[in-house]
Point group: C2
Chain length 216, copies 2
DNA sequence: TTTAATTTTTAGTCTAGTCTAAAAAAATAA
DNA sequence: TTATTTTTTTAGACTAGACTAAAAATTAAA
């Protein structure tokens, strides 16, 4: 498994989460910030290794084996994120680039010991679930804040967008995982909503509400 | 800095420790398990970047900058080794391959926080000194067990050979860092020595004694 | 259903890092 | 000091992974 192969598998895995059926060459190219022709080359290679199913012009799907490999990389990524935040005092908007490197370290023992050292965490600092050794992910039944209605209540459990700028915005507003939230009002015109967190009320845009997961 | 460049710098750094003056192409090739022609190519590249001084047929020496880069990689390697042993229950003969990967992770913050998290350790699990941020290494004034004479005493502080097989041998014999040792007798014929550790006496060959560092 | 636009693939090129084989320089021996 | 051996470098080829430009297949529009 080369670094590049691993990154392609991860990208396909994430795209499969959002879209059904074969993932298009262009979609992968965009996600990987590379060119479609490069994607075609790599897909052929992954197909040879039976990590993806591929029919020309029809896009790709991960095989069972490919899915396992990808889930394992994501498992490592998220466990390292927990480590960075819990043990090394990183903030949740600083961890991504480093975890992106650490996820490629190869050692079964390392990752299992790390898991234990961290107390077998179930979610990373952004609220995303950590796959287990067999690639099983506790499925995300949580809903987007956007879908709540007036007077609905819940707990913030995750974010969809993990970009540094978004996370910094949340920190500034005092929006953090585990906080209780209540929808005070919802504006039908632009879907913005007035929310309450810890007795403080303020308004957020639909764009923000569309990137926060809530457990009801 | 590519992975390959980093590995060459590290190899040259280690070789400079043992040999004075320019490090030969062949010596690097042997250490890196590659061919002399590949070494020549890479040396040219490192020379362009002013990380080594190079004169055709005369071998290489690290520049001040090159030495700093190399020391930094070794710093990372050794800090990760401490982490693996102290926090993740690795044994000292298991850490090398994983640390070899982890040493290439790029993040200033990561390594400084790790250093702090580990309590600013001075030595790795094999007793080797950990360079500081500026590449300074507390110089190894310790002597090889081989150089001790009858009735000399000391404390085991390091090993020269970190191969898994050697470390396993030491574990089996109960030879560990920090243990007090006394030379009971030394055989002039083959330089083997009878030693005592914790009231137990046994004989070791010169080869073994040549790979253990002692603080007198 | 033929044409136009879009997507995907192919063909060929480039770079980093490796290799083999041969040439050149340096070190050693006669 | 010349000949031989060893070391180092050069020349040229190979692979992975990327790229550009052009061809082919598919999809959408007229």
């Amino acid at each position: 498994m080369t670094l590049s192969e691993e990154n392609y598998l991860k990208a396909i895995y994430h795209l499969s989460d959002t879209f059904d059926g074969g993932i298009s060459t262009n979609a992968i190219a965009e996600k990987m910030k590379t060119k479609a022709s490069s994607v075609t080359d790599m897909i052929k290679k992954l197909s040879e290794k039976e990590l993806v199913n591929y029919r020309r012009y029809k896009g790709v799907e991960l095989t069972v084996e490919g899915k396992l490999v990808a889930a394992n990389i994501i498992r490592k990524h998220r466990l390292w994120e927990v480590f960075l935040v819990e043990k090394l005092n990183f903030t949740w908007d600083e961890v991504h680039d480093v975890a992106e490197q650490l996820e490629h370290i190869k050692s079964e023992k390392l990752i299992n010991q790390l898991d234990e050292f961290l107390g077998f965490p179930k979610r990373d600092p952004h609220g995303d679930p950590i796959p287990d050794k067999d690639g099983n992910v506790s499925n995300h039944t949580d809903v987007l804040l956007m879908t709540l209605n007036k007077n609905d209540k819940g707990i913030i459990v995750g974010v969809k967008d993990s970009s540094s700028s978004f996370l910094k915005y949340l920190d500034k507003q005092g929006i953090a995982l585990g906080k209780k939230i209540k929808v005070i009002d919802k504006e039908p015109f632009d879907n913005s909503m007035k929310i309450r967190i810890k007795k403080e009320e303020f308004t957020i845009s639909q764009q923000i509400a569309n990137n926060i997961y809530i457990k009801k």
